[in-house]
């Protein structure tokens, strides 16, 4: 593969736990703790995991909304995580986000035309007339009409508002869109419309997507590659088809088995792996493998050392002492 569009290496985002004497941190929440991820041009990479796994924090760090503790984020070969506000603003032409809740993502006082034109105005793109034309074009791209531009967000349904948010994100012709649970807040009958739209836009403009989701069926449908996160770490990553067909990490396996298929006959023949207990608190993760407290395969070594990501196939890695043992290290 040629140079990826986005390349994240050993990224850490740690939050201090305050409350100690003199405001000194009494501990750290390691929301993202040493993550590598690459996104190629025109590629969709999904970040999956349950609440508290760090997937949204990782997205925020890539977008520059959250300062990383350490590690690098390269965009088109340039390190961006230590950018100044001004260079960051220039970068926002290339990198945009679509949030889960389209209702709170739109300013209720602006017409949707004003909202969509806002990034153009901020970056001083075009004259007022050219911006109006661009808004009309963008509304057409997302399946709405130019006449809609004069209306306020309340005139639109949830699905239409998500289309408006997507139009705004596309205004500056970005190369990478971060999609943070883009269909989770929508009605079931509307979700497929938005998924179809996103896939169509990707084909037309060669967009790259970082797709953050907890919905594995949507990820399977949408993403070329997938990275599964658990307590700040990627536990498995690879081509979506490979990982979903033959998950290596026991967490990936449990996650997939827990999704009920919308087919009662098929569902009855599946074996559901029910994990014990809850996600441990990120403020107090277990020693060794982070999954050890819920893992049905855990052995002594899992309580002691954190397993590294090990290649298990073409572009496919897993971090598990049992299923993907690391090649023997030479002592000394």
């Amino acid at each position: 593969m040629s140079q990826p569009l986005l390349s994240v290496r050993d990224l850490k985002v740690h939050f201090p736990i305050r409350g100690g004497l003199l405001g000194k941190p009494s501990g750290w929440v390691k929301a993202v703790d040493g993550v590598d991820i690459d996104i190629g041009r025109g590629e969709s990479v999904a970040l999956v995991g349950e609440s508290g796994c760090g997937k949204s924090t990782l997205g925020a760090a890539i977008l520059g909304m959250q300062k990383p503790t350490s590690g690098t984020i390269m965009f088109e070969g340039r390190e961006i995580s230590r950018d100044t506000a001004a260079t960051r603003r220039a970068l926002s032409r290339e990198l945009q986000i679509v949030f889960q809740d389209p209702v709170s993502a739109l300013n209720p006082k602006l017409t949707i035309g004003e909202s969509i034109a806002e990034p153009l105005a901020i970056h001083g793109v075009g004259t007022a007339g050219e911006r109006r034309d661009r808004v009309a074009e963008l509304l057409g791209l997302v399946g709405l009409h130019a006449q809609h531009a004069a209306r306020k967000p309340t005139a639109f349904s949830g699905g239409q508002r998500q289309r408006i948010v997507i139009a705004r994100a596309l205004a500056l012709n970005p190369k990478l869109l971060i999609l943070d649970e883009p269909v989770s807040a929508l009605d079931v009958s509307i979700r497929s419309q938005i998924l179809n739209l996103l896939l169509d836009l990707q084909k037309r403009f060669g967009l790259s997507y970082l797709f953050i989701s907890h919905d594995l069926s949507v990820v399977r449908h949408f993403a070329d590659r997938v990275a599964v996160m658990y307590l700040g770490h990627i536990v498995e990553s690879g081509a979506t088809g490979d990982v979903f067909a033959n998950p290596v990490h026991p967490y990936t396996e449990a996650l997939l088995s827990a999704v009920p298929l919308p087919d009662p006959v098929a569902q009855r023949s599946r074996r559901r792996i029910v994990l014990k207990g809850d996600l441990p608190s990120p403020a107090n993760p277990p020693k060794g493998c982070k999954f050890v407290t819920r893992c049905p395969l855990a052995e002594a070594v899992c309580h002691e050392t954190h397993p590294p990501l090990v290649g298990v196939g073409d572009g496919w890695q897993a971090a598990c002492h049992v299923r993907a043992p690391a090649p023997l290290a030479i002592p000394g």
């Binding site: 349950e50 497929s192 907890h214 399977r220 996650l255 994990l275």
Partner: protein, 323 residues
């Protein structure tokens, strides 16, 4: 034997506008019946009407609700209160918001025993702890003394299930019980509900929008759209073959773990109509690819499907080949 719950021609209005418009269904002992539909279809209002917990703005405008041989609408408020929690219990989508934040969960669970005088010589505190253990909460003695904020969402949902089941109700209504939970926790809660159904023979009315959860849990399914049941049948039959275009489309629009990636998914045009804006004729007609003149003129009634169950569509014979 009469069903545990028999709902006949139920009608609920808000500000004079119908939100539930002539809904009928039964739930038998040990059976899980799922009502499925999108937001605003009236599925939660149906559940609230059965529980007699309708919001202030809503009015029960007609129909019969029978719990066994008891007509719930003929009861006094005190009699209904006695039924609720005792023979009839409900769990909600937001477990944390549905628990009293100022009371340890053990007390909350025990309270329902005390209120309904079902202690029968048992120590309510010990009974609550035993119930917490039954729903799979580790260290139940310690957890019983904790407040909801000290527990995770999955734990709170277990506590709510413990609370709803401690009086061994004949009917449990679960309104989107796993929607707010992560998928591995959802798996735990679904397993728990099935196990309790098997052990106690309780009837369960499961309200959800998730077709996967329906396929996994339900014995029978009723699909609601704009206040009405538009199709109902045993779970295998309705997933195998649909006779209403809405059911057909709803099932085909969802991406599946075992489906083909990146294909263009079928979609349903337009959106769910708002309350008070329901179209005349079949309420699905503005979004339906099969709609023609009869659909705009008159509302179809539920009619027997070819195999089992019922569907309300003028063109039910064309649904199989519509996509």
């Amino acid at each position: 034997m009469s069903p545990v719950l028999h709902v006949d021609d139920l009608k609920v209005t808000i500000g004079g506008n119908p939100v539930v418009d002539g809904v009928s269904f039964d739930v038998n002992e040990g059976e899980i019946v799922s009502i499925v539909g999108e937001s605003g279809c009236g599925k939660s209002m149906t559940a609230f009407a059965v529980m007699d917990l309708l919001p202030k703005a809503a009015r029960l405008a007609g129909g019969r609700i029978m719990l066994g041989d008891t007509d719930l609408r003929a009861l006094s408020e005190a009699q209904r209160r006695n039924l609720r929690g005792n023979h009839l219990a409900m769990i909600f989508q937001e477990p944390v918001a549905s628990l009293n934040p100022l009371m340890p969960i053990g007390r909350q669970i025990a309270e329902s025993l005390i209120v309904h005088r079902k202690t029968q010589g048992r120590d309510p505190r010990l009974a609550a702890i035993a119930m917490l253990e039954e729903v799979g909460i580790p260290e139940p003695e310690i957890r019983a003394g904790q407040y909801p904020f000290e527990l995770s969402g999955g734990m709170c949902q277990r506590a709510m299930i413990a609370m709803s089941l401690i009086c061994r109700p004949r009917l449990l209504i679960a309104d989107e019980p796993t929607t707010a939970l992560d998928v591995t926790i959802q798996a735990q809660i679904l397993d728990l509900m099935k196990r309790l159904r098997d052990e106690t023979g309780a009837a369960i009315l499961l309200i959800t929008h998730d077709m996967g959860v329906v396929a996994d849990m339900a014995d029978r399914v009723a699909v609601m759209y704009a206040g009405r049941v538009i199709e109902q049948a045993p779970v295998d039959d309705i997933f195998a073959r649909q006779e209403h275009p809405y059911t057909r489309l709803l099932l085909s629009t969802i991406p599946r773990l075992d489906g083909r990636p990146k294909v263009t998914l079928p979609s349903i045009e337009g959106m769910v109509p708002d309350i008070g804006q329901w179209p005349v004729g079949c309420r699905f007609n503005p979004r339906c690819p099969l709609a023609d003149q009869p659909c705009i003129e008159a509302q179809p009634a539920l009619a027997p499907r070819r195999d089992t169950g019922f569907a309300a569509c003028w063109h039910s014979d064309r649904v199989e080949t519509m996509l």
